[in-house]
Subunit: 313 residues, 6 copies
């Protein structure tokens, strides 16, 4: 594949890209043209279609397209002049080439996650988590591929799985070090805490908040989803259900971050810490690894409400 | 009935009261005695059992008891010296005598509430609200009797019904005045917004937060309850479900007041205003009507974060 | 009249518009030209005067002008090339055509407002409100025409009257439902609560904060204005004056919103609720009715600190 | 005079004291007795009247009384057993003996304040301040004696005068050091900024918030008072009035401290700083000078939201 | 040893206890007596000395005393009537019997901590930490015995060591999972982050904030201490010193928690998370393990700003 | 010197300026050109180098350059077309011409500052301040020239000295008026409170936060610097050191403004007030004096969180 990052001025390129933005504009002379943004996993490039001739077939934003274009330079940036264009057919392109994927192998991560599923001793909780992570093939497929967040930086394919696994590992650290923690409740809640993101965010390539995502939020969606499955398990203790649902509800830690209850059990508190530590340390790691700023200072970051710095030692 | 407010020093009283507090103490001389607090709807009185003889039968806190006692004065207050005591049997007493009841007739209020139920045109919403307010006898019975809050001031029998009705009336005012409001969604959400309190607070006479009340909260409980019933209605539009659930979730108005989402639709905003205005104006009314402070200033009130004043004109 | 919204490319237009912005610029070639923004109640359009010949008479920003211009299209937008221009004379244009006016008839609304004035029984308060709303012709005229806010969205001619009337209606609802409320004090305060806006904001077409508006604010101005008139009424009870002034001072509800006192009486609280509910629900209604966004989501709104959504049912 | 601080067990005392608290209680035996708190400027002492005989004349809380009593010790504290009691007549006692008075001579301070009055050059402002501080004898008398605050620590007779003078001196420092400051506006505003306290707090010996104090507050009262007098001065420039009134309104510095506007002019800012610095440094000085704690640490102080420490060097 | 928790009514006890409170009071009859609180690691007990005879030798608060006393019951609690009392001599008692000690062996923990010291590769940092944790015998001794906090619950002998070790272990978890973290800087900062507590809190048995503790705080003290030692190491890179000092300064995470800088490097952020997670989860664990409340709900806890609950599964 | 403010279209200019920004760009035609910003103390001007011929020597941002250029007008602004350019040599230009300098004479201010140094009676504090302000020539030189802040508005040469002197004068006012203040501690702390800015901000012409500035901050740097020198003075009382260091640490007044401790002594509080008053009043003065806005309203200012106004009387 001809990656965007490797395009050189002057060459002719025929390739499939994801069209993430399409604008219909007019020149001063009143002629209609298209201004596009094309993406693959290595970057984004501007493209123009000045001549809307027969070679330019119908297509929409967020579709894969096959283009034939000349690479030029405009204001120090690469730009594509498209001469021919058509929609790509499924199978012609591999979605994984168009969005950053987790560096780790997805199946390997999933197998590691299953060791936590196996490690749950309580029979009701074990039944509950297996209903999702072992028996529900559609859930498993979606869960494995889903991204953990909307913004480009963390929207890996497999991001949700990777985050869940990191949270589980930190939960194991906590359960090992603070013996009063109920491991089964903690692992169960950790496995479920973000599954609502599957419904909160639409799937790649159009990663947007959905209607239920905006109106209800993933905390509510996760809790209700787990609640529904609990009802299918005969004899599931009512108190145990409250405990697990409380951990999910409270995992943002504070009311002002969208949790309707603060953590009131040690498992809820531990889950909140694990979720928060991984989210922040992962973001910081990504910043350091992906920043192309040469300076040690990487600028003010909203998530940390601070200017942050690379450590060079 | 011999009301607490009418007890006079020197008289002998035989009556049923609700025991809301029971302490086992010792005199300096080492003799065990009981210190009780007894309640009826007119007030609370201290009582002592100095002599634990055969006339004093077993009983527990939060039970109704029949006592035979002498009324004395101690440190300017009335006190009861109990000589005989037994548990009351159901039927010997009328619970409504032991807790303030709404001034309005409960059935009359319920009938008024049903006019709102009837006023919902959308067939799915109409089916949904009738499943609760017309068809579910157990729900109706509990809903009618439930109190709307834990603290003494607002814990009327019928308080939840009265509050819901006031909110509905204000919602009608809003729907009449701001035409873009969808009346059906607003009434439906108003009817359901606090039903979770039925499970959040235990029933009279022990009005305490329950486990699900503390761990999940009435917002979450209401939403899930409605959600479950929606699933029983074939063809209920998904978007309509989001709208109703959003209104319930968002009715506290701000994340820091326990809503996991802020109001994002005009119906959610209107419901929040109606709920907030009734809660605050009702509390203020009760304060003015029940305060026995002679001064116009009624002291600092936590709910208003202010000193408040009676208007005398 | 030839409304801006109806202008078509290629036509020649002679019409009066309000000039809300005038910039004197230079072309690269060093030639001076004017860039204007013209407004009528249907919208705003850019206009250029490339040739400053004799046909272009003197005029200033915020004046009405009569233009003769060609309608062209530039970068997908309509633009006017002005060839002749002169100031309009009073009488040639109707100000109501240049700013959105309340949909409701102003005199009809004023008559409805007068029913509240008549409904005040207390003789001192009745005298006080009539001094403004019945006897003071200049006040009445200004009050009827004034806008309730600076920004375009709510600056209707008649906006202040419409808002005041809505607040009064909600106050009536409160007074009917919470019997301890003193209706006379509440109506009086509602009538006066925003009259200071007449001095806080300059009149159409230049709606800007005035010096007293910025330095004192409408809360202070309203209170002082009422206070001055009270002094003209013999025997006006001192306590009654405090009550009314307190309601006006406290109607923003919280110190951080500019009220120097929080509501301490039930009338002050009710006025605050009525003011807040109308301001927010009206803004939400306007948003839904005027937004030309096709999506259901209308974007993040500062006043609600939230993304908001149109309900489509 | 026989000061409370000097009373000794066993002695008989006949003296006038201020009765700041009077409770009518009953002994266990059912006999009525009075429990009083008496005050002079050196402290407060408990007193009992066990025998309500003919020697005990009528009196009320907050009145001066002449007593004949025996000094005893109860639970390590001095207590008075009163045998005879009557109201004191005016002239029999000197109020200054019953409340702490400013250490500085009141007339001397007032003369110093008048130098600021004389230092105002602007003829309108000069006229305005003289209407209060030179011509209005009743105002001058009340202003000189008034306390600046309700709580014991700062309620000196003359406290308002002393505070105003300190603020003026600091304003002079600011005007000398930051030349753009308009000295006349600053001095005028400083002279007036707290005059509303005269109406906000009732007079000694019952220093309580009054109705206008609670409902309007001294900021509003001061501003309106100045505003009324301005209207009596022909030709007083409107803008100048806004400036002075703005300084008074804004002198608490932040909306959440009760100013309806933040300081927007340098004079308003300087007045706020002078007021705040004197209030805090004076309180700190008083704490150090009056604390009888031997430790260097004087405990947590609400006004500083901190534990504070005496410096011993 | 005769532990306080095991004392029985009626028995005579001769034992050494720590006197943590001593009050000199008078009976109604005017006779002086002492009221004491005595402590060992199992609890606290009230004691009275009614008869100040020759058998009662001089002693002060916060000293160890040998008593001879009768155990009685007063108002349902055990109380000691002391007949003879003298100060204990060093060697007669073992301080570890009078304050809760970490459950883990102190030397074993210290050896585990030394493995982190050994694991630091950077030669300057290695030299720096060894100056404290290997070479400075007085520091090591104090560090091992110090408590980590003032309040009873966490003031274990060895508490500072135990907390530091837990933080180090969590730092290891972070360094293993987020590869961009500089392990050497993180371990070094973790070892040092709370050493200032040695000077902030006085030593057992009088655990109080010291003057430097209150005026400077342990964050400042730790940083300055490390800074001083760095100056003794030739060639210590300036940037490396900033990194370590920044981590110590920022470890409270937010300005409002007393850190003068927010975490700006990933090591500073990781240290903050480790410190915060251990402090909170340890406190929660202790609460669950030590609470003698039978209910699952353990009451509102200031540190969590929430009611918290024991998980029973 | 040919000041930027005086440049006229059409003239040819040869002058030294400070290059504060240099961008390498390409024309549409693909030709490289430079876009510069040049500065002297009178302003900033855009400059272009279209032709990178032999006359254009190497240079970097933040260097002084000698240019030969034509003054043209582009889009109503003056612009320079540079034909020849070389770096300036030291001595060819006077740095004081390129940055605003304090209006007051630096040596005169320093002599005034020394009178405070002389006024310190305590021998330890006197020794301490003289170590910096009398004996350390390098410190004195840097201190005299340093700017007090990063942004253009307050970055006077001599700004740090001027600010320190103003703070000292206000401290003198406080010490004269509140007698419990320890003058020696207050003056000492005032002299030192901002010396860390010398290391926090790099020197003119590149005024940027340094690494220690960002990671430690000037509060920490000042404190540590003073602490180091204190250790060189034999017998310096430990408590006195705590007092001075506390004042420096606490001078921002609140934790959220970066002070790790709130002011706990009256000297710390006084220093905070002096620092805050001068910073704010000086900024306001500068705004009024330098603003070229003709309107009285100077726009919203972040430091005051308010729109501010010039007083015209």
């Amino acid at each position: 594949m001809r990656y965007i990052v490797d395009l050189k001025e002057g060459e002719q390129v025929q390739e499939h890209y994801l069209c993430i933005n399409k604008q219909v504009l007019k020149t001063r002379a009143g002629k209609t043209y298209y201004s596009l943004k094309l993406q693959d996993k290595t970057g984004v490039v501007d493209a123009k279609i000045w001549d809307l001739n027969d070679g330019i077939n119908d297509f929409n934003e967020h579709e894969y397209i096959k283009i034939d274009a000349l690479v030029i330079t405009f204001q120090n940036s690469i730009q594509l002049n498209i001469r021919r264009l058509r929609k790509s057919s499924e199978g012609e392109y591999d979605p994984k080439e168009y969005i950053p994927v987790s560096n780790r192998d997805i199946n390997e991560m999933y197998n590691e996650l299953l060791t936590f599923v196996e490690d749950i001793d309580n029979k009701y909780l074990s039944t509950l988590v297996k209903k999702f992570f072992v028996e529900d093939r559609e859930f498993i497929k979606t869960f494995k591929d889903h991204t953990a967040a909307k913004t480009m930086h963390h929207s890996y394919l497999g991001g949700l799985l990777e985050h869940t696994l990191c949270v589980l590992n930190m939960c194991k650290f906590f359960a090992d070090n603070y013996k009063v923690i109920n491991k089964d409740i903690l692992y169960t809640s950790a496995l479920f805490h973000d599954i609502g993101k599957i419904k909160e965010l639409s799937k790649f390539p159009i990663i947007e908040y959905t209607d239920p995502g905006q109106l209800l939020g993933h905390i509510m969606i996760s809790t209700e989803w787990v609640s529904d499955r609990i009802k299918e398990i005969p004899g599931f203790p009512e108190d145990l259900a409250y405990m697990v649902k409380h951990c999910i509800l409270a995992h943002h830690g504070e009311l002002e971050y969208g949790s309707p209850k603060k953590p009131q059990t040690i498992e809820a508190l531990a889950l909140h810490f694990a979720d928060n530590c991984d989210a922040k340390l992962r973001t910081f790691s990504d910043l350091i690894e992906t920043s192309d700023v040469e300076d040690n200072w990487l600028g003010w970051q909203r998530i940390f409400d601070s200017n942050v710095r690379r450590t060079r030692y």
